[in-house]
Amino acid sequence: MSRRTLWSAAIILVIIPATIWAGIYLLNDRRYYFVSLLIILYTMIPFALIFERRKPQARELIAIAVMASLAVAGRAAFFMLPQFKPVTAIVIIAGVSLGAEAGFLVGALAGFVSNFFFGQGPWTPWQMFCFGLIGFLAGLIFRRRDKLPTRSVLCVFGGLATLVIYGGIINFGSHLMFSPQFSWEILATVYISGFWFDLVHAAATVFFLLVLARPMLEKLERVKTKYGLIQEKS
């Protein structure tokens, strides 16, 4: 935990301000998308480094890959319903069951892998970051290992996280991607026009958590007990 804190501190206190400074002075303060993209990528670096440094076991790797793949397969299964996807719900379940760090990796990986099937674009890093962040928060908030969180609590968290965190960040990103200058008016327009999509997405997350959370968490708990997966490190 301390090394991640150190890395995060270095990135938040030194590298991000330096990038913003370079964006303002060297690029004439007009490349918001480029600068924000760099910042989004920086935030993912500590997770990648910690994970690599730790030399994860095969079982841990596989568990993360399985959850990410289920999320992607879920996105593929609901391709005909726009925004109505189980990805966020599965990422939250992974975060709750496997911990904050694994939650982040499942989310980021699901975002990256699913775009191999649906098309990579300038939106990929943003999706990776949003899914990852939601998985990370789910892991942090529901970290009590002895008791599974209740369904209603998970649903409230899932709905809010999808609406506020995912919708908030993705819409902000698409504003920077689409228009050259930051403007509150355009941002408001983007939020208003994207609101119903975000609402559908949030409703989907609540629905899937309602149906999936209990059985999937129980399955994961069973597998964890049966195979002694991911011991809690103190």
């Binding site: 994970f51 993360i64 793949s69 355009i186 399955k219």
Partner: protein, 296 residues
């Protein structure tokens, strides 16, 4: 038509795409934008053929127009006033052109990504990431393999369930939904159990021990060395040109861009060559093939 750039070393492709994406995002000078947009559009046409025509005409052109119109509606800076909106705000030439330039950047980046999607297949990502981030690259490999495998397994489970009348195609909608959840539940259990066996098998074969090698089909050939040299040379010229400010343009309050000199012409040429590198490579391979055929 076969794309020859796709068969070059993944490192070359990665350098190329990172360079053109960054430059396309940063440069707003019209000459640079036009060069990048033309090269990107030509390359996507070469890669995707007829599908790309529809993508460009129905997807990108409306997007370009929409993004170009959006800016003057919100941004009223600039000295050359064209007309006034009903709200009393002026529409200026500068903000219109700025909108066009920004839209151009956006569309070019999307087209580059569409090329990247075809050229940089998942095996190349895994190969490149495997060098610096082995564990994450393994995660990526496994996920990419698991997704089609789960889809396949879901079909099998569904076929088995159909025999006992519990498929998603049977019963009223409530029963169907419940059957769907059962299939998903079976799939999850299978996926987790199966994954643990894979993990044990990996461990039994020595995963995590030092001295690990990885399989890849990619070889570094003479052509790759030449391509790398060309790329670095062109990147150097464009980088120097950018440092000298050849790529800059000021939009507000009035449009101002550097004079066109021999130096700027050199930078334009280098940027044009850089963006159309895959096209040039394809032309060269085509020419070489024809001359080989006619000589024999």
């Amino acid at each position: 038509m076969r794309d020859h750039f796709s068969s070059s070393h993944p490192l070359i492709q990665a350098i190329y795409f990172v360079a053109v994406l960054i430059f396309s995002m940063l440069f707003m000078h019209p000459v640079f934008q036009l060069l990048a947009l033309t090269a990107a559009a030509a390359y996507v046409l070469l890669l995707k053929g007829r599908r790309a025509v529809r993508f460009l005409l129905l997807g990108m052109v409306p997007l370009l127009l929409l993004a170009a119109v959006l800016n003057p509606a919100f941004n009223h800076a600039g000295v050359t006033i064209l007309f006034y909106l009903r709200s009393g705000n002026p529409v200026t030439l500068e903000s219109l052109l700025y909108g066009v330039a920004a839209a151009c950047t956006f569309v070019t980046v999307i087209i580059w990504f569409s090329c990247l999607h075809v050229v940089m297949t998942s095996d190349k990502w895994v190969y490149l990431l495997g060098r610096i981030l082995p564990a994450l690259s393994l995660l990526l490999t496994m996920s990419l393999r698991f997704v089609p495998r789960y889809v396949e397994q879901a079909k099998r489970i569904s076929a088995a369930q159909r025999c006992i009348g519990r498929d998603v195609t049977q019963g009223n909608w409530l029963v169907r939904a419940r059957n769907g959840m059962t299939i998903l539940s079976i799939l999850t259990t299978w996926a987790l159990e199966n994954a643990m066996e894979t993990a044990d098998s990996m461990k039994a074969r020595g995963y995590g021990l030092p001295g690990r090698t990885s399989f890849s089909l990619f070889r570094w050939g003479t052509r790759d060395s030449r391509l790398l040299l060309t790329l670095l040379l062109l990147l150097g010229i464009v980088g120097l040109g950018a440092a000298a400010g050849e790529n800059t343009i000021r939009f507000f309050p009035s449009i101002l861009y550097p004079d066109i000199t021999w130096r700027s012409m050199t930078v334009y040429t280098a940027y044009g060559l850089l963006c159309s590198l895959p096209l040039l490579l394809n032309g060269w391979e085509e020419w070489r093939w024809r001359s080989t055929v006619s000589a024999s």
